[in-house]
């Protein structure tokens, strides 16, 4: 039979976690798609902060991280980081982040860090609309915002 998985470990291609952190290392969102215990999560959060904040604009938006890689993008004082398998598609996630940020921006009407703090429970809803089970669920901004508006109108 044809050998499917030797070259690419496709089975393993999914988002391990999404983190939003500010420059000081405060977590504004942590979404885990793999089982980690609480200590491990804390360690990952600190490590990601350490590897991402030392990089500047001349660096790539990708950084090797343990056996994975982090795709990240900085918006003002916030770092949006996605951890994926090393063979996964960097640019698709880089734009996945931007797509997500544009949705947040529309939804919160010029989003700022404080919106994420005070509405943390709504940010989870936005994430679940766009990413689920470590996969991209919906990419259309129009569709996501329509759905969020509908949920907003519910009691």
């Amino acid at each position: 039979m044809y050998c499917y998985c030797k070259k690419h470990h496709i089975l393993e291609l999914f988002i391990r976690f999404i983190l939003i952190q500010n420059r000081a290392g405060k977590t504004r969102l942590a979404k885990w798609y793999m089982q980690f215990d609480d200590d491990e999560k804390q360690k990952l959060i600190e490590e990601v902060h350490a590897v991402v904040t030392v990089r500047d604009a001349k660096h790539t938006n990708f950084v090797e991280f343990r056996n994975f890689k982090i795709i990240y993008r900085r918006y003002a004082g916030l770092y949006f980081c996605i951890c994926v398998d090393v063979t996964d598609n960097n640019l698709a996630y880089l734009e996945g982040i931007h797509n997500f940020v544009e949705v947040l921006n529309e939804y919160f009407h010029n989003v700022c860090e404080l919106d994420l703090v005070f509405n943390f429970y709504k940010v989870y809803t936005v994430v679940d609309e766009m990413f689920l089970a470590g996969e991209i669920r919906e990419t259309s901004q129009t569709k996501v915002l329509k759905q969020l508006l509908m949920l907003q109108s519910l009691e």
Binding site: Y2, Y4, T60, E95, Y121, S140, M150
Partner: protein
């Protein structure tokens, strides 16, 4: 526009969050949180039933507190209650709390599952999605058991809303990932494949992810997805950018879906159907063409989205590896990116080209970019980009460009980041070996590596250069000359001393004709480095010295003087001391013939995969590195399958017990390699390496009969080490600046018990402390040891109990191997345990008449062993008595007519037999001599006991 005001809906929550943010200190924050927790607790426990809004608010506050990093141990029940609310906002907070904190309280799982079940059956798409998202977020086994059959049903039901289908597809994917056994394939699979045709691209996106994962384990069930995926992809790439409306992102049509479809296609080989194949090729060409079109927008989002699809298409082209035109086009496209102003694109192009280099169709095309890649190595600011450049140079290397690439890597190494130096060293070493036409180039390259980055040259690398030099006689003279010259540098790296010591020890004679590198000059050069080196290197140099004695008889005296000096013979390190003692003795007692035999040139190593390659593979992990195994060449012709050699060390170790530690080698020739005090011992290469030692042992074992004569001299020296313990059972066995080992032993009949005490002399912990005993012959002597605690605190002592059983009479003592980590370095200590045959004595009292009767009975020539020797200690009668009693026999007074003589009797207990034993010691004070006579029923026992006891006086 759906703008959200701060904390809208829950004023109390917003106030609480503001309070926390205004806290000036961590203490103030904790105080505020504790106040809130007390408040919430009292509300939950209060008599008044809370309304849904309050419950939601308090649960949300608890969640916020948890996310700040504080433990939450209540509120789970209230959260579960929210699940059955019929208000979305309350339900959502309930589900969120459960998703984030689920592990904390699993006994609620039944209640949670019940609520999920109700919501899934509600036909309310909002509630169904909340429930599905909860399952997808938690993904526990309990949930898989409860919903693995329900979710596929929802996914393929005709009346399910699109957004619910999206969630159901990914929810099922999560359950399959965590519990594949609970998600059996079924009728639904065919209908899932048809979701690729769905009108709603969000549904197609989610379904493609699900199918991609399922297809890898069940390729046949999802085969039909290939044609559907190609059709879908074709429609997307050929669409005008406005066709897909909502799914067009910065003028790129459905980029994420395209990427997913291209990935799904990588689960399968190229389609066999020609039409389908043609259509796919057309798609891929279109994607490549689009990369050449002028951009529709200057925004980076546009080019990123476009290139995400392009890189995935190139991955598929490489995966199929069947269309030369596409491969070369891909390579040219990547070549353009190598000089792009976007760092991201340069990085990705280098990475992607690395895989292209391994395809026969595009290897040559990749090679044309060599100058650009070398330039990247020199100019890129981001170390990860330079790293990719190194990877690509390695991948594109072949015979035609090896010299250039190796030279560039070496020159980069001088300024390379510390983080990637070791990897570059490994790569250079592998390329230099693989593409060496002329082995002088190889030797120069490796010595350069050591010069430039000595600290990063792992053992595998210098082992390998020695292995190759030994196996190729055309390079030996050159190697000797080159290391000799390299060693002239006032400060050379210790790894160079190792290589130099080894090579001059083997092949120094090839350059000894030149007076500038005469034997004495060579020796002085090596010895000038000796005192600056670590113990393993010094041990190796000592072996080189004994080899010099064989190669150059004219420097024998000089070397013996060195070996004889206090700093060698009384060295605090047992390994060095033992080598010095043994080598000195060997050089004194052995004839030139024997020396020449023992110290003969190393036999060629059996060819095997370079351990460097294994190390590099381990470093990078599989799938990341182009495989360069294909054309491994034999360095020497007589390759021997190494499996044959496994387990063959025993006869050799038995015959030639030169060394105190069986692991470090039964042979002074081998043990320069297997010094165990090196961090690499946890590496994969170690397995390879010990096999290497074994193999060499076998080669030497063929000569073992000749070596046997030598071993007799040397055995005596080994005994000396422990002779203090022949007549006593307690004391300090070993001590260095880190560790003290003390012993207390008890013996009864054929059984013994030793209490070993390990004392940590430092103030720091020893980590990974372990100690084990290896017995040279377990058929004769069994030692069981109980495991010790792996951590030995500073200043503390631990005890280990060893149980010993003597099965039959034996010669060699077992060896105690201790290993631990101190301040980051791995320490290995091996000492002989003082378990000798006489320990199993039981004293026997008997009358004079009985004694002489038995003496006569044991009169056969081979039963008696006699030795006359000079007294080494003052001839004190009381001390002698004490020693004989300590030896284990009963001291019989009034038996011998001459009262100056000592007579003793005892029985050696072994499991298989008992050996009666009589002895007589006759001192001659005038001549300062002793005569010792032993008679036992077994000749080997007589010899052994005589050896042991005669060393005591």
């Amino acid at each position: 526009m759906p703008a959200v005001s701060k904390g809208d809906g829950m004023r109390g929550l917003a106030v609480f969050i503001s309070d926390i943010r205004n806290c000036k200190s961590k203490e103030a924050e904790i105080k505020r949180i504790n106040k809130e927790l007390a408040n919430i607790r009292s509300k939950f426990k209060g008599d008044k039933a809370l309304d849904g809004y309050s419950k939601k608010k308090y649960v949300c506050k608890l969640l916020f507190i948890f996310l700040l990093g504080h433990d939450i141990d209540f509120g789970h029940m209230e959260a579960v209650n929210l699940l059955s609310s019929n208000k979305y906002t309350e339900k959502q907070i309930g589900y969120l709390f459960i998703s984030v904190l689920v592990n904390s309280n699993s006994d609620l799982i039944r209640l949670i599952n019940n609520a999920i079940k109700n919501d899934l059956a509600s036909r309310n798409p909002t509630f169904m999605n909340l429930a599905l998202h909860c399952i997808a977020n938690v993904g526990s086994r309990e949930m898989a058991e409860a919903f693995a059959s329900e979710v596929p049903r929802i996914l393929v039901a005709g009346d399910t809303m699109d957004s619910v289908k999206q969630s159901a597809a990914l929810c099922l994917l999560r359950l399959y990932r965590s519990s594949p056994d609970l998600v059996p394939m079924g009728d639904w699979t065919a209908r899932v494949v048809h979701l690729l045709n769905d009108q709603h691209l969000g549904v197609v996106t989610a379904a493609t992810s699900l199918i991609t994962t399922l297809a890898q384990k069940n390729p046949d069930d999802f085969k039909t997805s290939v044609s559907l995926a190609v059709a879908r992809l074709s429609r997307i790439v050929s669409s005008a950018s406005i066709d897909l409306q909502d799914y067009t992102y910065y003028f790129v049509a459905a980029p994420w879906l395209s990427v997913k479809l291209l990935r799904l296609l990588q689960c399968y080989p190229p389609p066999e159907d020609a039409a389908l194949r043609g259509r796919l090729t057309e798609c891929l060409e279109t994607i490549l063409n689009k990369a050449q079109e002028p951009p529709k927008s200057k925004k980076v989002q546009h080019s990123n989205a476009k290139n995400a699809v392009l890189f995935e298409a190139i991955s598929l082209i490489i995966h199929h590896d069947s269309e030369p035109t596409l491969l070369v086009r891909a390579c040219n496209q990547l070549g353009q990116f190598l000089q792009h102003r976007e760092t991201n694109l340069r990085y990705l192009a280098l990475e992607s080209m690395c895989t292209l280099a391994s395809s026969e169709f595009s290897h040559e095309a990749v090679k044309t970019h060599i100058e650009t890649v070398i330039n990247a190595l020199k100019t890129e600011r981001d170390v990860s980009v330079r790293q990719r450049a190194v990877d690509l140079l390695y991948a594109m290397c072949d015979r035609s460009n090896a010299k250039q690439i190796v030279a560039e890597m070496l020159s980069y190494l001088e300024n390379a980041d510390y983080s990637i130096r070791e990897e570059i060293v490994l790569k250079v070493a592998i390329l230099a070996e693989k593409y060496a036409v002329d082995y002088t180039w190889y030797v120069d390259t490796i010595l350069n590596l050591i010069r430039i980055a000595g600290d990063y040259v792992s053992e595998e690398v210098w082992y390998r250069v020695i292995q190759i030099v030994i196996n190729r006689d055309d390079v030996q003279g050159y190697a000797a000359k080159t290391v000799f010259e390299a060693l002239q540098a006032p400060a050379c790296h210790e790894n160079l001393v190792k290589v130099g010591g080894y090579i001059l020890g083997e092949f120094g004679n090839l350059i000894a004709g030149d007076p500038r590198s005469s034997p004495l000059v060579q020796f002085n050069l090596l010895h000038s480095k000796f005192h600056l080196c670590s113990v393993p290197t010094r041990a190796l140099l000592l072996s080189a010295y004994i080899k010099f004695i064989n190669l150059f008889p004219e420097v024998k005296g000089t070397i013996q003087d060195v070996l004889r000096s206090d700093s060698q013979l009384r060295n605090a390190d047992v390994e060095l001391q033992q080598r010095a003692v043994e080598y000195l003795r060997l050089s004194c007692v052995a004839s030139t013939d024997i020396l020449a035999t023992v110290l003969e040139e190393m036999p060629p190593f059996p060819e095997r995969e370079s351990s460097i390659l294994a190390k590099l593979k381990k470093k990078k992990g599989p799938g990341h590195l182009p495989d360069i195994n294909d054309s491994r060449r034999n360095v020497n012709g007589n390759a021997e399958p190494s499996e044959k050699n496994e387990g063959s060390t025993h006869p050799f170790t038995d015959l030639l017990n030169l060394n105190s530690t069986p692991s470090t080698g039964s042979s002074l020739l081998v043990d320069v390699f297997s010094d165990t005090s090196t961090p690499a011992s946890t590496d994969v290469s170690e397995e390879n390496f010990s096999r290497w030692s074994n193999t060499v042992s076998l080669v030497l074992a063929k000569k073992s009969r000749r070596l046997l004569t030598v071993s007799i001299f040397l055995t005596k020296n080994c005994v000396l080490v422990n002779s203090r313990f022949v007549c006593k059972n307690n004391g300090v066995l070993y001590e260095n600046h880190l560790l003290q080992i003390g012993l207390r032993s008890e013996y009864r009949q054929n059984l013994g018990r030793i209490y070993v005490f390990y004392g940590n002399k430092t103030s720091a912990q020893f980590l990974n402390f372990s100690s084990s005993v290896s017995s040279p012959d377990t058929l004769k002597l069994n030692v069981h040891c109980k495991a010790v605690d792996p951590i030995l605190e500073g200043g503390a002592q631990i005890q280990q109990i060893l149980n010993i059983e003597c099965v039959s009479d034996f010669m060699d003592e077992p060896v105690l191997n201790i290993q631990f980590r101190h301040g980051g370095t791995l320490q290995n200590i091996a000492v002989k345990l003082p378990v000798m045959l006489n320990k199993f004595f039981q004293p026997t009292e008997m009358t004079s008449q009985d004694f002489f009767q038995r003496w006569k009975q044991l009169g056969a020539p081979q039963q008696e062993v006699q030795k006359i020797f000079k007294a080494k200690h003052p001839m004190d009668k009381d001390v002698t008595r004490a020693k004989i009693i300590g030896f284990g026999v009963a001291l019989l007074d009034g038996v011998d007519p001459n009262s100056e003589n000592f007579v003793g009797a005892g029985i050696i207990h072994t499991k298989s037999t008992q050996v009666g034993c009589l002895l007589r010691l006759e001192p001659n004070t005038q001549a300062q001599m002793y005569r010792l006579t032993l008679r036992t029923s077994r000749d080997t026992v007589s010899v052994r006991l005589c050896d042991l006891l005669s060393e005591q006086f």
